[in-house]
């Protein structure tokens, strides 16, 4: 029997659905609404309709899209989802629970990441909310692929994804970047998976070409393909952009081949050389600029404490930026100062 039904492709996740469908069955994005893309190529995350459903494996998810959206998951078959425990809003009493074995242990605890990731098993229903105003973004992950996500942005991940984390190198990043010390990395090795993330404010995505770069505020960083490199860059008050040694390593992707990357991209990704003690001292002093002092004073006045002052001084008064270099997707959120949900 030949399937002659016409198909329509989702512009967000590229899955195909019957032409009669109003929403994508894999990510929930409306199929009958035109894309909203800015002149520079930022695509608004799909505005999910209230009570939209989508499916993966044997399970399904329904979105209560509101001011503080909720994802309600119906688990079936052998499916599981894992998540930070405080993101769980309610669950059927019968849903079996377990703990995900995560690497890092005490280091995760010290860095403010959840020590325990919970796993919910089929059958049953579980619902999740991030307890904050924003948008839920559904990202289907095809194997083999890796997605890096800002810490504490995860709502849920399907059990077919493996979880690890990447340290963002450098003292400066830790203090200045407002993005935390680690990136959550979700890997689809042999089977596809699904990520549901929570972004503060509105969420936008842009696909960078090979070697294409853009500077974003560290707090605005939301997610990226692991092939996208991320470096810390400062804009000093004389308008000059300074590169910093701290960089999140790109994924070890031999299949894609770093050899294929252009020389420009390689040069950007290469950490600058350090010049011993004096070089490092010079590097530290160069971090402190007028903007940093200004922001430190503001932090002090508003009760930010020593941590806030150090962050502002080292961060250069908010002029620290992430330099993202393609190829791959980059997601940002339009509320970009540190926002924490209650349990973080």
């Amino acid at each position: 029997m030949t399937d002659v039904e016409q198909r329509i492709q989702c512009r967000w996740c590229h899955a195909q659905s019957p032409s009669s469908a109003r929403t994508c069955d894999r990510c929930g994005a409306p199929l009958d609404v035109r894309d909203a893309v800015t002149d520079s190529g930022w695509r608004e995350a799909p505005r999910l309709r209230d009570l939209t459903q989508f499916h993966w494996s044997a399970s399904g998810c329904q979105m209560d899209a509101g001011v503080v959206p909720v994802a309600e998951v119906t688990l079936a078959g052998e499916d599981t989802v894992f998540f930070e425990h405080h993101a769980m809003l309610w669950k059927d009493e019968s849903v079996p629970m377990s703990v995900l074995s995560t690497p890092g242990g005490a280091r995760r605890l010290v860095s403010g990441m959840p020590f325990v990731l919970s796993v919910a098993h089929a059958p049953g229903r579980v619902a999740f909310s991030r307890d904050a105003t924003g948008e839920l973004v559904v990202i289907p992950v095809e194997a083999p692929a890796e997605v890096d996500v800002r810490e504490h942005a995860l709502v849920l991940a399907s059990g077919s994804l493996s979880f690890t984390y990447e340290k963002i190198g450098g003292f400066r990043v830790m203090l200045a970047a407002d993005a935390g010390m680690y990136l959550d990395r979700f890997v689809a090795q042999s089977a596809p998976g699904l990520l549901v993330l929570h972004g503060y404010g509105n969420v936008f995505q842009r696909t960078l070409g090979e070697g294409e770069t853009i500077l974003i505020d560290p707090g605005a960083f939301f997610y990226k393909d692991s092939k996208v490199t991320m470096e810390v860059t400062s804009i000093n008050m004389k308008g000059r952009i300074e590169d910093n040694a701290a960089a999140a390593p790109p994924a070890d992707d031999s299949a894609a081949g770093t050899a294929a990357a252009p020389a420009a991209a390689a040069a950007v990704a290469e950490p600058p050389k350090k010049g011993g003690m004096f070089g490092r001292l010079k590097s530290v002093t160069s971090m402190v600029n007028v903007g940093g002092i200004a922001q430190a004073a503001g932090s002090l006045r508003s009760g930010g404490g020593i941590g806030g002052v150090a962050s502002a001084l080292v961060g250069g008064g908010g002029s620290t930026m992430f330099r993202m270099t393609g190829p791959g997707r980059v997601g940002i959120q339009s509320m970009f100062r540190p926002h924490k949900t209650g349990s973080e």
């Binding site: 500077l215 503001g298 339009s334």
Partner: protein
């Protein structure tokens, strides 16, 4: 053909009063949707329309595009020779080709004491740069014709074009009560105090040093207003309102009382001062214990803009020690 073109070019935006062809879905000067009904209340307040998602606003050879509804983003596509300025914490992303520099500001210590940003940045094209106010609300575009000016509440600026001059002036709306923190007498003394407090638990303890013999200053609409004035060329100022934004055109000497924290912007021709009302409750002696309402009296001619979501006015209810020029009214 000619008649059609002439008819199209006569579209006048009901919000910014600028003319355009009307061929676009939104006003190219302020981003307001074209041909929507002017929504005005019976009392004369006009609700400023939300700038439509992806609407474009032209300024000089450059343009701004507004995207997002919860926390909107203004994405500027700057042509060579065009520039904008902004406070540093509004910058969301930029292309590396955009040249960012510090903007010279006078009286840094006064600005610091008033809570104004010490550093503002300029960005020059060519290239793209985007801004977000980092909180839910509405973006308001205020196009300024040659020589026109607007006064804007502090901390609401998102971005302004470079041809618009920036200045800041005291609001002259304040009151002083008993029992507050002592005002620092000098920059050195204040720094020493801050340093000592840093060495302690971190951050300023706002209640430390509170004494009935001391005085506390309050600025219901902020200590300063930002003033933006267009020069030889038209300019654009974008501000963010919390909640919804409304504007009303006041006639000559027409006055109205508004909640001081709700003020968003006003024409410089609009005057304002503090107004205090005392409800008649119990003995006259008690009326100073919180039984008072603080208002901002504004009078025309000119526009006044409000935001519907605002901070609670901080009034401890203790005796006034001093006030800026004001009017008062005792309820019967």
């Amino acid at each position: 053909m000619t008649d059609t073109a002439a008819a199209q070019s006569t579209y006048t935006c009901p919000y910014c009063k600028q003319t355009s062809t009307g061929a676009e879905t939104s006003c190219p000067t302020c981003g307001a949707p074209v041909n929507i009904q002017l929504r005005t209340t019976a009392s004369g307040w006009t609700e400023l329309p939300s700038i439509a998602d992806m609407a474009r606003i032209q300024f000089g050879q450059s343009k701004a595009q507004v995207e997002g509804r919860l926390v909107p983003v203004a994405e500027m596509s700057l042509a060579a020779g065009d520039g904008v300025y902004f406070t540093q914490n509004m910058l969301l992303w930029q292309e590396p080709s955009v040249h960012v520099d510090a903007m010279p500001l006078s009286k840094p210590w006064t600005r610091h004491r008033a809570g104004l940003p010490l550093v503002m940045l300029t960005a020059d094209g060519p290239g793209r740069i985007a801004f977000s106010h980092d909180e839910p609300g509405e973006l308001i575009a205020l196009p300024l014709q040659r020589g026109a000016a607007v006064d804007v509440r502090e901390h609401t600026l998102l971005v302004a074009t470079k041809g618009v001059a920036y200045d800041w002036a005291p609001t002259n709306v304040w009151f002083m009560t008993s029992g507050g923190q002592q005002q620092p007498v000098s920059a050195g003394g204040s720094l020493l105090k801050m340093g000592m407090q840093m060495a302690g638990a971190g951050g300023l303890d706002r209640d430390r040093g509170r004494d009935n013999n001391q005085q506390e200053w309050h600025y219901p609409v902020g200590q300063f207003l930002d003033r933006f004035q267009a020069g030889e060329k038209p300019g654009l100022v974008m501000v963010q309102a919390s909640g919804n934004a409304y504007v009303r055109e006041l006639g000559e000497r027409e006055s109205i009382l508004i909640k001081p924290p709700a003020l968003l912007f006003k024409d410089p021709t609009v005057g304002m001062q503090l107004h205090v009302e005392y409800p008649a409750a119990g003995m006259k002696l008690w009326r100073t214990w919180g039984n008072r309402y603080l208002w901002l009296r504004v009078w025309g001619p000119g526009r006044v803009g409000l935001q519907s979501c605002y901070e609670r006015l901080d009034d401890p209810g203790t005796d006034f020690r001093d006030l800026s020029p004001h009017t008062d009214y005792l309820w019967r």
